[in-house]
Symmetry: C2
Subunit: 501 residues, 2 copies
């Protein structure tokens, strides 16, 4: 049996090599590739993804998994071996439903669509991306239809990213959360607005980048096993457990973009760098779900990075880097500025309270597009209408409207956004437990130390990789299911205090 | 038949995608990869190379090539279709002789060996690379033995790089050239040495890089389809005809390294960027041979880049970039400095006259290692002994001795060096014909223009890619075979004038 497991692993590692190479091709396209490389690059990525898909759906894998079933059953659920077999089987059963030619077609289309979007967004040219988006929608529907028997056509797409989640569950969860958030946003924005002008001075790129690197190094991001480069849209990617990279972007007239972006992506990277090395090259060497991944990026970015304790250590250092801009600005003013709550247009720049409203708008639009209740042609106006209704503000242009996020222009429509809000909810649940177990986390943070928190997260989440589902992790850590209360409580307490409500 | 050709092309493009991806993995390893990525990276490159090899040696390819034989014979030899079939068959017949597992084993070993070398060279630690080199030698012998019937064990390895060449032919050719060079070196080094102190001042990296970019842009290197990055050892690599990259290194205390290195690699890149686009994704989208490739890097680096006409345009610009260092240095002094002939240790830094002696030493040692007449243990001393005998100088340390070139530490022993001297010989032959056809090339060069030369090279060499063999190209261009006379004549005239002999 161990021999069969070894055979399976050998095949999985080969597939992982193809995925790793495809990820590097993508990273290079986003960072350093000259424009002339684009057309072949799309083809190359598609070829690697098709080959990986072909190899993963080879009946030999299915047979090995069947033959390993008694072995798996003889082991404990928690064992790495049983988990590898279980998780691989789950992925295999999904993968065999999608024809390799379809995977390749989608990959080629996504590359082309992404290239068009990168030029069309700054030009505010929705007409240029519209046919691509239409094809993305058609392909997303076809992809969902390879999984008949769904309750909602978005369900298979959601399931890819957040296993076990469905449109109906998410709708209820999000409705419940919206009910809490909307009055909170009302109350907070009725107060005098925080003054964030201190963040909107001129901050030279070089110093911003250096300070961001200093911070994420202190958080625990290992530069021996990673690096940071610049891209138009920041992301985290992994080529192996020893090479987990992040990207960032800088706005010289706003300190937030690079600062919190770096912490966000570093949060994703800390997760991947913390996965058990034994999982290398197998499906277990991955995050548990989009939601759990976002729980970590958002935890480091917000629960840590926008906390008073954090800046009690870092603010004087930031003042030293930008004395002209910040010497006269108090810690309290800075802290209020980075936590300013406002009705705004851009999701990635939104404060913690309104952020989820941005996400829910996208989630709702995805469902309507897939249902056929909204056309791609009507999407920009629907976007504006939804923003006006939910956030009381809307962008006249599409650049800061429907075209602001890369997701729909580089992947499926469906399943791309729920993870952000699931992450916020889970992140607060996890953090509450961590602080209860280790109240010293806050004191360490005031001294610029994050070891206890990082170790707790590694121990409870990171090391397990893809071994447990999101629901299992939440259960193991909190002793119960996903709950919005810790998140709502966290927001209410933090922002109530900030806005003296 | 056209359908079969289409089928063949589809398969070839898939294989090319794998090679392109492997090349990017390699480029990334040399430029930006964090150290933690090394072990998985070696495995990933090996997997891609094995898959490419498996796919290329698939009997389906052999059958298609057989079925296409009558079609090929119905076409003219020069047609792109016939050439694709002919060249693919030639490569196929070589490839099927090497088992995929061997290719993978060699690839894994090469990555490991390269990693060890990058650390061992600066540490002057030959003992660290010795076991790797021994294994490289064993594997190189095994590789040659997959091609039984050779005259010399190096022949199959030479044939990979310079199709049609053999150890015996090269030995005679090199002996003949050595007979011309040795007295030339004697005579030139007996004269008062040129003063190259103007090149050995401090030149900040940033300005050096910018000036190098300015030059290669003027030569015609297309940055829309390429880019330059820094690596410990410069190289050119290609991911597609639209993405041909070069790398460079800078010494702040010597202007030559970055300046001539950039022109050398740009020469390789101009060749690849000039290949007929129709060949994209097939074996035809490659240089004709190592020798023809070097003929172009050396042509742009030396015949152009170290010529008086070239610097008549660029020298005042260089003075503007480095006024403190060069304002008081005349063009003539600078021209003599960049053409200083001396007995030196480092091949890549050697002048045009002694350069080939460096190459021939390596070529000779390769043959002896493969023959079993020299052991890896004895190699460092044999290197020193050969340098003393041929160049009258030897490095006490191995860093600037046997460990100076990456070739033996990242690929085979055998077939790695003859191309440099073949390139010098062919480059002079080609350049002579180009100047005869277009005497205006020199006048253009004095005005910083290279269009006529570049177009002639594209027309006669670059566009053809791998369609013609080196011998065919030489015959087509010069009307005869490879001859050393134009090269010897060029060296004699240029350096005789410089050293007033």
């Amino acid at each position: 049996m161990e021999n069969k497991l070894k055979k399976l692993k050998t095949r999985l590692i080969e597939i992982d090599d193809l995925h790793g190479a495809a990820a590097l091709l993508y990273w290079d396209q986003a960072t350093y590739m000259p424009p002339g490389g684009a057309s072949a690059r799309g083809r190359q990525m598609a070829t690697l993804e098709r080959l990986a898909h072909e190899k993963f759906t080879d009946p030999v894998i299915g047979n090995l998994l069947e033959e390993l079933r008694p072995y798996e059953e003889s082991l404990s659920y928690d064992s790495n071996e049983a988990s590898l077999i279980r998780v691989t089987r789950r992925e295999y059963e999904k993968a065999v439903k999608v024809p390799p030619a379809f995977t390749e077609k989608f990959s080629v289309h996504s590359s082309a669509s992404y290239e068009v979007w990168t030029n069309a967004r700054p030009a505010n040219d929705f007409a240029a991306v519209r046919p691509y988006l239409q094809k993305t929608l058609d392909l997303s529907r076809q992809l969902a239809d390879f999984f008949p028997g769904y309750e909602h056509i978005a369900d298979p797409l959601i399931d890819f990213a957040d296993y076990g989640m469905k449109a109906s569950t998410l709708r209820s969860l999000f409705d419940e959360l919206r009910k809490q958030l909307v009055p909170m946003v009302e109350a907070l924005t009725a107060q005098p607005a925080a003054d964030d002008s201190c963040l909107r001075q001129t901050f030279p790129e070089k110093q911003q980048l250096a300070f961001g690197l200093e911070i994420i190094k202190r958080l625990g991001y290992d530069f021996q096993r990673g690096r940071q480069d610049k891209t138009p849209h920041p992301f985290m990617t992994k080529f192996s457990l020893g090479d987990v990279r992040i990207t960032t972007r800088v706005q010289e007239n706003d300190l937030r973009e690079a600062l919190f972006g770096a912490m966000h992506e570093a949060g994703h990277a800390l997760y991947e760098q913390g996965i058990c090395e034994e999982f290398e090259g197998t499906p277990l060497a991955d995050g548990a779900s989009a939601g759990v991944h976002e729980s970590q990026s958002r935890l480091w970015e917000n629960l840590v990075g926008r906390s008073r304790a954090f800046w009690q250590f870092f603010y004087t250092k930031l003042q030293d880097v930008f004395p002209d801009q910040l010497k006269a600005v108090s810690l309290e003013t800075f802290y209020r500025a980075i936590n300013k709550v406002e009705r705004s247009l851009i999701r990635t720049a939104a404060d913690e309270v309104t952020y989820n409203l941005h996400v829910m708008i996208r989630f709702g639009l995805e469902l309507e597009l897939l249902e056929g209740n909204l056309t791609v042609a009507d999407l920009p106006d629907a976007w504006r209408e939804r923003y006006r209704r939910n956030l009381g503000i809307a962008s006249e242009n599409d650049r800061d409207g429907v075209m602001q996020d890369m997701h729909w222009f580089s992947s499926t429509i469906g399943g791309k956004f729920q993870g952000y809000t699931l992450g916020n909810i889970m992140g607060a649940q996890f953090y509450e437990v961590a602080l209860r177990a280790h109240p010293e986390i806050l004191d360490e943070m005031k001294g610029g130390q994050f070891g206890t928190l990082l170790n707790w997260l590694k121990e409870n989440i990171y090391q397990h990789g893809y071994k447990y589902t999101a629901a299992e992790l939440v259960e193991r850590i909190t002793g119960g299911p996903l709950r919005i209360e810790p998140y709502v409580h966290y927001l209410g307490k933090k922002f109530g205090e900030l806005y003296r409500l």
